[in-house]
């Protein structure tokens, strides 16, 4: 088959696309990348800034106002009282430390549990088992936060399942309290920690693990020197979930926390109960500062791309 087509005698059989307005717009966009960028960014930025950032800033501004104690109306006069109360009040220091302790414990426990299971899912299990495990990990997400928290209340109670299982070993359920809160929160956020770590481990090429073994690295060595450093950003991403969700929780501690309260409770009572939004806003500053600090700390690890 030899077509003989000197260019000049070739009849053009393929039409050029019609120059519709959409086409012209598209040509304009294609040669003006900045316009394209502006169009892409407008709606989401508008939303995030207008809905979220403005709301957040206004909340923080509220922290400098006060509330009339009897009518509950906000008085828009600038004052540092709330901030001073929060910074100097021993109540807030105690609760902040307690909340931080719980959040850190939950984060550590979740990472410790998520690592082996995520590793098994990503690097050891066959594809079939892997798929099964992903489903098994995701399913509890749908069982409703409250239902699960109450289920733990039942499990942890004096004659609950845990007591029944531990009694033969001479151990006892921790009962309601901070330990119970840590256990329950760890349970609730576990899937949110497993998923990013699993995804992160999956991205570690097998050949690197093989290279380590090839050079004489035993299993634990490989895990410590190669797998962990490479999965680190993903692990950090997981910790952001566990940490921030724990930091703001007030429902779980109510259900299984015994008489303890966390920062979330203080915020909640002040806004929901005491109707003191300015003080609530001042208290809210604590977790905001903590989270911003944490984000700044982990930002360079690239973790924020792994959520």
């Amino acid at each position: 088959m030899r077509i003989e087509p000197p260019v000049d005698t070739r009849t053009v059989r393929v039409p050029s696309p019609a120059a519709t307005p959409a086409r012209r717009a598209s040509a304009f966009l294609s040669t003006h990348p900045r316009t394209r960028l502006a169009l892409l960014l407008t709606a989401p930025l508008f939303w995030l800034v207008l809905v979220y950032i403005v709301a957040l800033v206004l909340l923080l501004v509220t922290a400098f106002w006060q509330v009339d104690s009897f009518t509950g109306e906000i008085v828009t006069e600038f004052t540092f009282d709330n901030i001073i109360t929060v910074v100097t009040g021993s109540l807030y220091q105690t609760v902040t430390l307690r909340t931080l302790g719980v959040a850190i414990a939950v984060t550590i426990i979740d990472v410790a549990i998520a690592l082996p299971i995520a590793f098994y899912m990503a690097k050891v299990a066959t594809p079939r088992v892997q798929r099964f495990l992903v489903i098994a990990v995701l399913m509890p997400l749908w069982a409703s936060y409250l239902v699960k928290a109450y289920a733990w209340r039942s499990v942890l109670s004096q004659d609950g399942i845990l007591e029944w299982m531990l009694a033969p070993l001479g151990l006892h359920t921790p009962g309601y309290g901070l330990t119970a809160t840590i256990i329950t929160l760890s349970y609730l956020w576990l899937p949110y920690v497993i998923l990013p770590i699993y995804a992160g481990l999956e991205r570690v090429p097998d050949s690197l693990l093989e290279a380590s073994a090839d050079l004489g690295g035993k299993t634990w060595r490989t895990v410590g020197s190669v797998v962990m450093p490479l999965a680190f950003p993903a692990i950090i991403a997981g910790t952001i979930f566990a940490f921030s969700l724990s930091l703001g929780d007030y429902i779980t501690v109510n259900i299984v926390g015994g008489a303890n309260q966390m920062l979330g409770n203080l915020v909640y009572t002040n806004v929901g109960a005491a109707n003191n939004l300015p003080l609530a806003a001042a208290i809210a500053l604590i977790p905001i500062v903590i989270i911003f600090g944490y984000l700044a700390l982990v930002r360079r690890t690239g973790a924020l791309d792994n959520l």
């Binding site: 077509i3 260019v7 059989r13 393929v14 696309p17 040669t31």
Partner: protein, 345 residues
């Protein structure tokens, strides 16, 4: 039509800067209609960037691009009558082979039946009719490459841009595809602009070759021009293997001023010094013998000069085995010595 008078592509002062890097640096170039034109050069020399500028994926920092006399510098890629075969083929993974090939027709609003027919014809031209219903992932590398070719040619572009289309293939497959590519270009009569860093490929396929170096064209000419008359040390070294003699050595061994080069296949080994008219020789010691199948490469340390490579043909004419340490006379003909233009001359 003016197409015949006008070059298919004319680049004038084309420059592209990425931040501080000049990826393409004042390139002027004309490519004739129907030419098989190659761009050869080491990694990072700007070949891909030139191609992307022609296709319209990048906007030049300065300079203009003309297609058959028409300035297209400001036009969007989809408004340019050129098509590209990408290095990684960029086949749409969610479409069948047929849909991939028909894509260009579909976006031009051609009816389903007609585009099917024409896509099948294009697939037939690359001998892939029976794979029309497959997904790209179900094809081998060579087959994908042919689909990419069919997809780009079905819309009958005036110029086809190919960015190392054979780079991802096995050597064996690659040689096979080179032959097919040349065949298709001849059949369609389209201008091909072909990017490669494989000098043998460029020599084999092209009508003309531009050798790129640091964003500039170092030499432009036919394969023979480049190989037999390299204009610079860089070209002599990059295109094929060269034995280079600096000014001192040239004066001593060749008896001429300036840098010179000789190709390994222009050298022969002999037991005694040369005697023929126009022949010269130099004594040396064999330091390595490498069997390459169609020939044998002998590396010889000349007594008074550099280490040279001699390519002996693996046939009856060949001298008996020279082992390491053998004393030999490396012989050449004066006419095979190429003077390298000193940079800036």
């Amino acid at each position: 039509m003016t197409d015949q008078q006008q070059p298919a592509i004319r680049l004038t002062g084309l420059t592209k800067e990425f931040g501080a890097v000049s990826a393409v640096d004042h390139v002027d170039l004309e490519i004739a209609a129907g030419e098989f034109f190659s761009m050869l050069g080491p990694s990072g020399s700007g070949k891909t960037t030139v191609l992307r500028l022609i296709a319209g994926f990048e906007q030049p920092t300065s300079g203009t691009i003309e297609l058959f006399g028409q300035d297209v510098t400001a036009k969007a890629p989809f408004d340019r009558d050129v098509n590209t075969v990408f290095q990684d083929y960029a086949l749409f993974p969610h479409m069948t082979v047929l849909d991939n090939v028909a894509y260009g027709l579909r976006v031009r609003g051609i009816k389903r039946a007609e585009r099917r027919e024409r896509a099948m014809k294009a697939l037939a031209a690359v001998r892939l009719e029976q794979f029309a219903a497959r997904k790209p992932s179900q094809l081998s590398g060579g087959q994908r490459q042919r689909v990419a070719l069919a997809r780009a040619t079905v819309v009958e572009p005036k110029v086809l841009l190919l960015d190392e289309p054979l780079g991802a293939l096995d050597l064996k497959l690659r040689e096979q595809m080179q032959v097919e590519l040349k065949q298709i270009q001849r059949d369609l009569g389209i201008t091909f602009i072909f990017v490669t860093h494989d000098q043998e490929e460029a020599l084999t396929l092209s009508d003309r070759i531009a050798v790129f170096h640091d964003g500039r064209i170092e030499q432009l000419g036919s394969p023979q021009d480049l190989y037999e008359r390299p204009a610079s040390r860089f070209v002599a070294d990059f295109v094929g293997t060269s034995n280079l003699f600096d000014a001192d050595r040239s004066a001593a061994l060749i008896g001429r001023a300036g840098e010179h080069s000789i190709r390994p296949e222009k050298l022969t080994l002999a037991d005694a010094a040369a005697t023929g008219a126009g022949e010269r020789s130099a004594p040396g010691t064999v330091v390595e013998s490498i069997y390459v199948g169609s020939g044998i490469r002998r590396v010889v340390d000349l007594d008074e000069g550099p280490r040279v490579t001699v390519l002996e043909r693996n046939d009856r004419s060949r001298r008996g085995d020279s082992d390491r340490g053998d004393r030999v006379h490396v012989t050449w003909h004066d006419e095979d010595v190429v003077a390298l233009v000193p940079p800036g001359a």
